[in-house]
């Protein structure tokens, strides 16, 4: 039992990170029909911005702040203006494919211009362990979990309690009606991209001390976010959160009790079953658009 608890707790920590990355994924889909295949690379890259700042002997908090700022500029605004805007009129598919190219571009650039080796990344939290009901959990994991949850709660509050947030939701649900109601749709969409960039940068700062900074990190994270978003519900933020946690836990349970060689297969099988049985995702709404 003790080990099951430990597996679930450890899975929740990993799941919180998946959720952060998956939320941004669903945000982009909702507001601008962008299936971002570079989402994993988006979560890999900010750590390297932060490393550059750290190499300039800046303190960690400032490096993280700068990393988030640069991410918002490059992965938020520049991504939107330079790639999404000109591509969007061509349809969902060409844009999705352009993000695949972007993923290769980001990954290979980091490898060539920074390093092919994994880099150590300082942690915001100490590594000591504490006893949680018989399972030893590190303070680092708890910190990661709490920060991720705080970010999600803050985002939810922003979306439901502020005028801007509600406008964003209106845009996500029906841009045409939102425009008629006088919502500045374009600004709201841009804001979504900025929020996505901030979320992935935060995820990057949280996860890299554990994962280590490496150009290939995006492959695992991107796949996890993708699966989490679809399983949870592609068109709902709470779906992405639930999907992230579910995936983190399933990863561990599958490896412990089903098969180590097929540990990566279980989440994918769940994905296929969900699409067959409940295509809108566990917590999603059925989409009205049929085509």
């Amino acid at each position: 039992m003790e080990s099951l608890l430990y597996l679930v707790l450890a899975g929740l920590m990993t799941g919180a990170i998946y959720a952060l990355v998956a939320i941004g994924f669903t945000l982009l889909w909702q507001t601008s029909q962008t299936i971002n295949f570079a989402q994993g690379e988006f979560a890999m890259l900010p750590a390297f911005f932060m490393l550059v700042a750290l190499n300039l002997k800046l303190p960690l908090w400032l490096a993280i702040l700068l990393g988030v700022g640069v991410s918002i500029l490059l992965l938020g605004l520049a991504f939107k203006r330079l790639l999404v805007d000109p591509m969007l009129r061509h349809g969902v598919l060409p844009l999705a494919i352009a993000t695949m190219a972007l993923a290769i571009f980001l990954k290979e650039s980091v490898k060539e211009f920074y390093s092919a080796e994994a880099q150590r990344f300082p942690s915001l939290f100490p590594e000591q362990k504490v006893d949680v009901g018989g399972a030893m959990i590190s303070i680092q994991s708890i910190g990661v979990f709490l920060v991720a949850i705080a970010a999600v709660v803050a985002l939810q509050l922003f979306l439901s309690r502020t005028r801007t947030g509600r406008s964003m939701q209106a845009v996500a649900q029906n841009p045409t009606v939102a425009r008629i109601l006088g919502v500045p749709v374009e600004r709201m969409i841009l804001l979504t991209f900025a929020i996505n960039a901030a979320l992935v940068a935060l995820a990057s700062a949280l996860v890299t001390p554990i994962y280590l900074a490496k150009f290939s990190n995006g492959e695992v994270l991107g796949m996890a976010a993708f699966v989490a978003a679809i399983v949870g519900g592609f068109n709902q933020i709470r779906g992405a959160i639930a999907g992230g946690f579910l995936l983190g836990i399933v990863d561990n349970i599958a490896a412990a009790y089903v098969s180590t060689q097929y540990r990566a297969a279980i989440p994918l099988l769940i994905l296929i079953v969900v699409i067959m049985v409940r295509p809108q995702g566990l917590l999603g709404r059925a989409e009205e658009r049929t085509v």
Partner: protein, 381 residues
């Protein structure tokens, strides 16, 4: 100051004249390298390539091989055997002196017959046991094959640690699976039981499930055969969960990089140390400094392998006393290269008739964040 500067310029001018004159008579020796520069093997191939470039720069600065400069052309196999095969064909078409790479054993398998048909030496980085068992006359390793390193570890686990039940944790790729199969066989031969056989994924971040399985299997020893990053992560997790059994590894697990990444969690780790920049040999330490100065990171064993590949070719060529591509494969077999004659070889090495290596290795332990060598395992012959 001025005179010094002038002398420098003069010396450089004379040197370059001399070099120009030399190269006019002697065309450069051309090497062709095919390695995993992108795809899942990118870290392996990049280290290998950098090692080669460093060795060539050093050799050329000292006048080349038999007075001839060395040149290399790098090609990217994209970690794909099909592409590696095509590029190897291209490399052979370019009529080189010798072929370098690849690093993935699968890619070595598809290219070895091409090199053999062309009669060219192939100095490669693959570690799978079977590579040198197929009887290719042209294939030479740059490190121990897994059939040389795993028996040493199995012997250590069975005879020194006296373990009865072992948990094996391995990364499920070309490298990890080969090691896992070999250690499984060697442990079985010594009547040691494998109580947990844990496959992990490259890039895996969460090792909670693996640690639970090690704990529940009641193993006396865990043998960990992963890449650097994953080694560090599992050590941290094992440490956090108070797993006290001996943790044993091969080369990477005791490496400086893992120690740096895992911190205190690496303390107490034991194992066999083959080719590593941590080897307590001054020449290796010097190499590490030069590599770090040029590329700004500490190389893994693939970096040393790439470096050695060029020096092995140099030593064999100088032993022949001529640059003869067709005779090179034979010259690279049944040869002992010693650092006093060829400092670039770093440690004395003997290549046998199959292309397998024999070299001194070590049993070590991590104590207070440092690798400490407990025992030197001499060359077998």
């Amino acid at each position: 100051m001025n005179t010094k500067f002038l002398t420098g310029v003069l010396a450089a001018a004379v040197l370059s004249l001399g070099v120009a004159a030399a190269s006019a008579q002697n065309p450069p020796i051309k090497l062709e390298n095919v390695a995993e520069l992108s795809g899942p093997g990118a870290t392996v191939g990049t280290n290998w390539k950098n090692g080669i470039d460093l060795a060539i720069a050093e050799i050329n600065a000292k006048g080349g091989i038999l007075g001839r400069k060395v040149e290399v052309n790098h090609a990217d196999s994209q970690s794909n055997p099909g592409v590696a095969r095509s590029l190897f064909q291209k490399a052979i078409d370019a009529n080189p002196y010798a072929l370098l790479g690849p690093g993935y054993s699968g890619s070595v398998k598809v290219t070895a017959s091409l090199a053999e048909a062309a009669g060219l030496a192939q100095v490669m980085g693959g570690e799978a046991a079977e590579l040198t068992m197929a009887g290719h006359k042209n294939l030479v390793r740059t490190s121990f094959g897994q059939q040389s390193s795993m028996p040493k570890i199995a012997k250590y686990i069975a005879e020194e640690v006296k373990a009865q039940a072992v948990a094996v944790v391995w990364v499920n790729n070309d490298f990890g699976k080969g090691g896992r199969d070999m250690i499984t066989k060697e442990l079985a031969a010594r009547n040691v039981k494998i109580v947990a056989d844990l496959s992990t994924e490259a890039g895996q971040a969460d090792f909670a499930a693996d640690v639970v399985k090690i704990k529940n299997a009641k193993a006396d020893v865990a043998f960990i055969y992963l890449n650097e990053e994953e080694s560090a992560r599992i050590l941290k997790e094992l440490h956090g969960q108070n797993v006290k059994i001996p943790l044993i590894g091969e080369t990477t697990l005791l490496g400086q990089k893992v120690i740096e990444l895992a911190g205190v969690a690496a303390n107490g780790v034991k194992g066999h140390v083959g080719l590593t920049t941590d080897a307590p040999v001054p020449a290796v330490q010097e190499f590490r400094k030069r590599f770090q100065a040029k590329y700004n990171y500490v190389p893994d064993h693939n970096g040393i392998k790439g470096y050695l590949s060029v020096y092995m070719i140099k030593a064999a060529t100088e032993k022949m006393g001529k640059v003869d591509a067709k005779a090179l494969p034979a010259a690279l077999h049944n040869i002992t290269i010693t650092p006093d004659k060829e400092p670039g070889i770093l440690m004395e090495v003997t290549v046998d008739e199959k292309g397998d290596l024999d070299r001194m290795s070590f049993l070590g332990e991590v104590v207070d964040g440092k690798q400490v060598i407990k025992q030197v395992l001499p060359k077998l012959k």
